[in-house]
């Protein structure tokens, strides 16, 4: 597993540096109480050479003035306002500072403070170490954060200390205004949040405080795009939580190296447990251990975190099971609904048609029964009954066709639109002596259902013919436009009676008509069918017109194969 390898690499790095550090730190007792500035400076200078991850070390007097540091004896610098200094003086404990630019080095660093106490337990001096920030980012570099995601280390103000990818652009930036950062800065609790960010990508943010639970020194944040986290909910989410944990532990370990003399054994136990955790053994625990209080605390924190990870994995797997069960339920509900619809259509076509046939039939039988005794008005009334029942029959047929069109499975092949167009025009060429000018332009090929697309052309071209029949000659033009990237837009333009553009959307509705049946026959199902077919192909339909100035109908089709719903 990639994560464990990376984690192991980190450990090696940090531990190697830590051992070197330790060798020098044994001299600390003499050093920190020393009044010999030259000795102090040399010692820190040596320490710095041995610790490439650190920008520098130094001692600050309790009044905030620098006693000595690794770089220079020129120490007329006041550091009493630095956050790590103030916190160390305040808490008398090891503390982590905020993001800062070194006053002497001019470089970004994260500083740690360690109290040097006098015999009365008062802070006599503050020992500090400045961790190089770019190195911290480098340490994060090999972590396999999924594309679109990131891993960051933030200080307690929400400023970025380290980040992958693009550390240079982010180090020193404050994210304090990001809601997900605010959440953890306020709660100081490990949290997992879904956030839709400015770039439009919804991400899952997992944040974890490092260090003291009441006043964490650092926060580690891992973000992954939601699309990825849902696709592999179990695997990636857990893995990232583990990455986060391991990074957190390692950063913490690096800090503790500085803070504790008897660190090696407990840290190794931590490392082993972290590795087991990263390998997927969520039962890894440190257990209570004797040693430096801080390490026992860290070990405890680790165990708590491992508990939570394990609990979360169980939770996710339950959620997944629940999700699967619900998908199953919905699928069967959908199948039921579809079967019901099928039965409904069957019933409509059989049972509703019979009485219609009877109405028409009995009207005619009555007509022939009455024979010559039937007067003109009687005949007219009976004819109306007959024609209405016929029209109802046509409406039922159209409705059923629309319903079938929406449900029939699509058979996608490569469709030659030019051949299809030619065939459609030939089918409709019996124009009863009308003069029709056809203007056709090449359309090309597209992936789609041949029968359904033929219906589209048939409906649109017969419409164009119908509404231009008062024109001599009727001019019907078919062509394509570029449209959006990855789609083909086809238009069918006529010089017919047109329509009021205000009714454009109505036009594509079921049984919507803009002309009465005396003027232009039809039931108003053709364009509804067109819209349905095109949308099943993943395309759009629209139209343009001015009354009496012809109409243009457009539809788009994706050039890439579209997965039908």
């Amino acid at each position: 597993m990639a994560v464990s390898r990376i984690a192991a690499g980190h450990q090696e790095n940090y531990l190697k540096n830590s051992r070197q550090l330790l060798a020098t730190l044994t001299e600390l007792a003499f050093l920190v109480n020393s009044s010999d500035r030259a000795f102090c400076q040399t010692s820190f200078s040596n320490l710095k050479k041995l610790s490439p991850d650190y920008e520098g070390f130094g001692l600050i007097e309790s009044d905030g003035t620098l006693f000595c540091n690794a770089d220079s004896t020129n120490i007329s610098v006041y550091l009493g306002d630095r956050s790590y200094f103030r916190r160390t003086v305040e808490t008398k404990k090891f503390t982590v500072g905020d993001f800062q630019i070194g006053r002497l080095t001019r470089k970004p660093s994260l500083n740690f403070g360690y109290p040097v106490l006098d015999d009365h337990g008062q802070v006599h001096r503050v020992l500090f170490a400045a961790l190089r920030l770019p190195l911290m980012s480098k340490a994060l570099a090999n972590i396999g954060v999924p594309a679109g995601g990131n891993v960051m280390v933030l200080d307690r103000n929400g400023t970025v200390l380290a980040r992958q990818p693009d550390p240079e652009q982010w180090i020193g930036k404050s994210l304090a205004n990001e809601p997900y950062v605010q959440t953890i800065l306020q709660s100081k609790q490990e949290s997992v949040l879904e956030v839709k960010e400015k770039d439009g990508v919804a991400r899952l943010h997992a944040l974890k405080p490092v260090g003291d639970t009441l006043s964490p020194g650092l926060y580690v944040s891992v973000s992954i795009p939601l699309a990825i986290s849902f696709a592999h909910a179990n695997e990636i989410l857990i893995r990232n939580l583990i990455i986060m944990a391991v990074v957190g532990i390692l950063v913490a370990a690096a800090i503790w190296v500085f803070a504790s003399h008897s660190f090696l054994r407990p840290v190794r136990a931590l490392s082993v447990a972290a590795k087991r955790l990263a390998d997927g053994d969520l039962s890894a625990r440190i257990g209570a251990r004797k040693g430096a209080a801080e390490l026992v605390q860290l070990g405890h924190t680790f165990d708590v975190m491992a508990e939570r990870l394990e609990a979360r994995r169980i939770e996710i797997s339950q959620m997944n099971q629940d999700l699967e069960r619900r998908v199953g339920e919905r699928t069967s509900q959908l199948a039921d609904a579809n079967a019901e619809l099928e039965a409904f259509c069957y019933s409509v076509s059989h049972d509703l048609r019979a009485p219609l046939r009877h109405i028409g039939g009995y009207a005619e039988m009555l007509e022939s029964h009455l024979g010559k005794t039937l007067d003109e008005e009687g005949t007219r009334l009976l004819k109306t009954v007959e024609s209405s029942s016929k029209r109802m029959g046509v409406l039922i047929d159209d409705l059923l066709q629309l319903s079938r069109m929406g449900r029939a499975a699509m058979k996608k092949t490569e469709v030659d639109l030019d051949a299809l167009l030619k065939e459609t025009i030939e089918m409709q060429a019996h124009s009863n002596g009308r003069r029709i000018e056809w203007k056709t332009n090449p359309l090309g090929k597209i992936n789609g259902d041949f029968a359904l697309l033929r219906q589209v052309f048939l409906n649109l071209i017969s419409n164009a013919l119908k509404y231009s029949r008062t024109r001599d000659p009727a001019i019907i033009e078919i062509g394509s436009l570029p449209g959006n990237p990855g789609e083909l837009v086809v238009f069918i333009r006529d010089n017919g009676v047109g329509f009021n553009p205000a009714y454009m959307e109505k036009l594509f509705g079921v049984f919507q008509r803009l002309h009465d049946a005396q003027e232009f026959e039809g039931t108003g199902i053709g364009l509804a069918n067109v819209r349905r077919i095109i949308s099943r192909h993943g395309g759009r339909t629209w139209a343009e017109s001015k009354p009496d100035h012809g109409a243009t109908f457009y539809f788009s089709l994706p050039r890439q194969p579209h997965t039908s719903l």
Partner: protein
């Protein structure tokens, strides 16, 4: 006119029966038409059992079966007829209110001799019935064992 041949009409809708008989009468077809309202009675008639146990011998020259009927539908009557050695040669016409692809396929799979969608338009309906009864009642030579009522 040749001998009059018996037609079996299984149809549950009295209106459809009346319209069918009206159309046949208009054509001056004088075939005897036995009308039953469901599939059970159709089979009773064919097997000469129940209330038809006393009926004269001989099979109808054609059985016109409505697809959707109470108790036993047209497809089931068709299936039983085609499975029985004495009835399997009787021509069967399935009549239905709408053209449903699945019904069409099932009917032909069961060996139907004709499949007719009753037109909504009455004139066309009359034409269909007249053509059907004329073809099966007069023109077509029925299998041996068909009854002659004349």
């Amino acid at each position: 006119m040749t001998s009059l041949k018996r037609i079996l009409l299984a149809e549950d809708s009295p209106q459809d029966v009346e319209m069918t008989l009206h159309a046949m009468a208009k054509n001056h077809l004088a075939n005897e038409v036995v009308v039953v309202p469901n599939g059970v009675e159709a089979l009773d008639y064919l097997f000469r059992r129940g209330k038809f146990s006393e009926r004269p011998e001989g099979n109808p020259v054609v059985a016109m079966l409505d697809l959707k009927m109470p108790k036993l539908d047209g497809l089931e009557v068709l299936r039983q007829m085609k499975a029985h050695p004495d009835l399997k040669r009787i021509p069967v016409v399935i009549m239905t209110g709408s053209r449903e692809e699945s019904d069409l396929v099932k009917s032909y799979d069961l060996g139907v001799n004709a499949f007719v969608v009753k037109p909504v338009d009455f004139k066309q309906f009359v034409d269909s019935v007249q053509n059907l009864s004329c073809f099966w009642g007069l023109i077509n030579e029925p299998p041996p064992g068909s009854a002659s009522a004349g």
